[in-house]
Symmetry: C2
């Protein structure tokens, strides 16, 4: 880590001279002023990636959903958001002049069609139906731009992780995807994690370790693939 | 506070010799292994009430929803739960030999009718409908018992706070209700708070102050009302 810090401070890190945007954490979609739909992302993996990218010399913008984590050392800018729509707006703005985007946030796929201004009252004996609308897909929106940044996605799945990750890589036109299995104490709320990286013509398993160590290995691979593809 | 601690340690606190159960925090209702419906309760008010009750000499059981707060000083037992059903089971068990129950948790009114075992996949272009079922009402369940404890509820409302709180006091057969207005930085996620207490033949406004100070004043009033009605 001292070597990384020294290398970064002298402009010699693997991501020196590059602008990197990292999204992290969950999004919360409000139902009314009190209730929301959330997800179990702790934000720790994304925050670790932001710290590792900064240590590798990148100018990092971290777009964070609702988490209670301190801004990692070296991160140049942090934008706090709550909903998927807010996250998309912040990422698109930050990504305009970035070379790499790492989408580590667990963006909610759906939001309530209407957000009630007043707290919804329980109707005794009656069930409730919540109409949900699809959220914007941040990675797909970036991929559809004329000159998208190098795009790294995450796939957190409970089943058939490899098949789903490779499909998502192709479908969303990503440059790399980091896949992990969640549930049973793995992934989202756990302190350590394992990842498998896929890119269009290769893959690499990163064995279970702390999220900080895993993030450094991921950033090394992102830098290597970025240099190979974008020069 | 020193006086409270001394009084409590010599058995002279306002709640000395009493068993008190406090519920605190939100409940999270899982939609699938990743998504859930939550609410904005931070748990701080309930944790402050548990600490104040312990300082007043009570043997306190704290039933806590998903929060990241340390157990307050003096609290005898803490039970961590996630869903409303788990909270109800833990509260009913703890309340069996308790004299006072303070329901400070923001219990989710609704849960998804089914919890999906696998992460739900986004259906491109299709909206989603979430069927919700009503959760058990913990206070009403306690009130319906043959010899219920002294029951204190909370009402966090965005509008018409007084009317709603007084209706809830009568409808749920509570001994006291603590009402506050939420939204616009007040209540749920704020550091301080104000409360109005209602009981069947009176009310009292507790002015805006820290949640710790407010909790001590609330506990004083609970002790006074308990002694008046049950003492």
């Amino acid at each position: 880590e001292l070597r990384d810090a020294l290398a970064a401070s002298f402009g010699g890190g693997a991501l020196a001279g590059l602008k990197v945007v990292v999204s992290a954490g969950p999004t919360y979609e409000d139902i009314d002023p009190v209730r929301f739909i959330g997800n179990r992302s702790s934000g720790r993996m994304g925050f670790a990636v932001a710290e590792a990218a900064a240590a590798a010399g990148a100018a990092v913008t971290l777009v964070a959903g609702p988490v209670s984590l301190p801004t990692p050392a070296g991160v140049a800018r942090r934008v706090d958001v709550r909903s998927a729509a807010q996250m998309q707006a912040a990422v698109l703005e930050a990504a305009r002049d970035a070379q790499i985007y790492v989408g580590a946030a667990a963006v909610g796929d759906y939001r309530p069609q209407q957000v009630a201004e007043r707290k919804l009252k329980k109707q005794a004996g009656a069930d409730l139906v919540l109409q949900l609308a699809e959220n914007p897909d941040i990675l797909a929106t970036l991929a559809a731009q004329p000159a998208p940044p190098f795009l790294v996605g995450f796939a957190a799945e409970t089943h058939e992780v490899a098949a789903y990750a490779q499909d998502k890589l192709r479908r969303k036109k990503l440059d790399m995807i980091a896949a992990n299995e969640v549930g049973g104490g793995r992934g989202f709320e756990a302190g350590d994690n394992a990842l498998t990286l896929y890119w269009p013509d290769g893959s690499l398993e990163l064995a279970r370790t702390s999220k900080a160590a895993l993030a450094r290995r991921l950033v090394e691979q992102v830098a290597a693939r970025y240099r190979a593809v974008r020069g």
